[in-house]
Amino acid sequence: MLFLELLAQSLVQGSIYALIALGLTLVYGLLRILHVAHAGLFTLGAYLGVVVHNATGSLLMAFAAAMLGASIGGVAMFRLAYKPLLDRPPYVALIASIGLYIACEEIFRIVFGASGLTFTNQPLQGQLAIGGLVFKQAELAVIVFSALIIGLLGWLQTRTRIGIACQATVSDPQMAESFGIRLNTVRDLNFLVGSALAGFAGVWVAILNNLVEPTMGSVPAYKALAIIVLGGLGSVRGTLMAALVLGLIESFGTTYLGKVMDRNAIAFAFLILVLMLRPQGLFARR
């Protein structure tokens, strides 16, 4: 029973990780930027979700606002921050991104207060029993949505011309243009979708925790990086697997190894182990 419950909980945790990391994978896959500020968009989504839900009482509006806000933020970040830095060494964008993230955190703190926001009417708290396991509605919804979105993105990325066009811009942006691929459109689109996903994930985490804090992105900021690296950098399928595996490792690890290492250490010990055996990550693109 404990085993099953742990398994179920790792699935929930893995799905959350997957949602957060997916957007990052898109961005990384396209521009090779370690986009730490992605976590800022995630937090932005969470705040917008709570604020709008508290104001309107509509979950749909909350998600819409969060995704819209985050994607506007994301595209703005790309245009203003990353675009001019694309032909610089990657750590330049990394540090810029870290600066952005710190600024985001502080803006949230100054605007919404340090102690965080909660839902006045926390949605989706009903419980469902499946095969003896009890889930919150919100937990099930997270699992279902991440499965759907990942399926869709995986298909888009590998099976469609848009996906291939995106990948072409990674290898050689200039030549991609020479074959009619509109670089700016493709990149904006990627940031748009990736950031919307971050906002989406933010609202879910807000619902699950009933707490939105300025610093809620700081764990995703590095965990998501670990996940996309574990997944082989840039592959949707790999990200999904890595997120689930990490959820599993953390759940069982903290339960059985908690005395030796903390949760982060367990996750990263696993990451290091995998990378030493498979330097290209669990699932390299091919």
Partner: protein
């Protein structure tokens, strides 16, 4: 169909080409020749829209395309097989070809791909390999094939024979002849001057960014001085 009027282009303050006027008629093959660093590749990349145009005009089908972005130029029918091949290394051969045909409806793809594979059967055997792993010659074939996938009306090929084995060079020239005869315009940069002169209609020789000689290929073939001075023939 393509007309360069006093074209100047370069990088930042540096001018790679100073004053190039060139007129390509539809269905002709023009060879752009010159020693290393003469500015040939820069010219092609400028026509494709990647090297800054510093002066003059580029007319295509009578319209000035100098201000158009590269994405627009390829839609009008200008394709390039660039110096250094510039393949999409992380994509497979098939996907590279797919990107080549991305401006056309998906239904064109199978047919166009088969045409390329007929020209370069070797690529057919390697369809699922990553482009970055191909041998030098295979990459060259793919670069040309990819350009053909755009169904160009003007194809620009930089260093056609680079890294290709003699048999494939022959095939390529054969194919160029056919394409030209079907009405495609070709702008060819070659170091293998003999081969280029043998097939070309017009010739333009660049030297340090300036036109050193321009005329018909027939004249060029009969001008031993030119051959010795600029074309490195012996």
């Amino acid at each position: 169909m393509l007309e360069l009027k006093n074209l100047a282009c370069g990088y930042g303050a540096f001018g790679a080409v100073h004053d190039l006027s060139l007129n390509l008629k539809a269905g002709t093959l023009t060879a752009l020749l010159g020693t290393n660093g003469a500015g040939k590749s820069s010219t092609l990349m400028c026509i494709a829209g990647h090297v800054a145009q510093q002066g003059g005009q580029i007319h295509f089908d009578g319209q000035d395309i100098g201000q158009l972005p590269p994405t627009e130029r390829v839609r009008r029918g200008i394709a390039i097989s660039p110096e250094g091949r510039r393949l999409f290394k992380d994509l497979t051969v098939e996907e590279n070809l797919r990107v080549g045909g991305v401006i056309h409806p998906a239904s064109y793809f199978a047919q166009d791909r088969d045409r390329v594979l007929a020209l370069f059967p070797r690529l057919g055997e390697r369809l699922d390999s990553l482009a970055g792993n191909l041998s030098g010659g295979e990459q060259q074939m793919l670069a040309i094939g990819r350009a053909l996938m755009t169904r160009p009306r003007l194809i620009m090929i930089d260093e056609l024979s680079l890294g290709l084995m003699p048999k494939v060079i022959d095939l390529c020239y054969q194919a160029l002849k056919t394409l030209r005869d079907e009405g495609m315009t070709v702008l060819l940069v070659e170091q293998n001057t003999e081969r280029a002169l043998a097939i070309a209609d017009g010739v333009c020789v660049l030297e340090s960014g300036d036109v050193a000689w321009q005329g018909s290929a027939a004249d060029a073939r009969n001008d031993p001085e030119l051959a010795a001075a600029y074309l490195g023939m012996h």
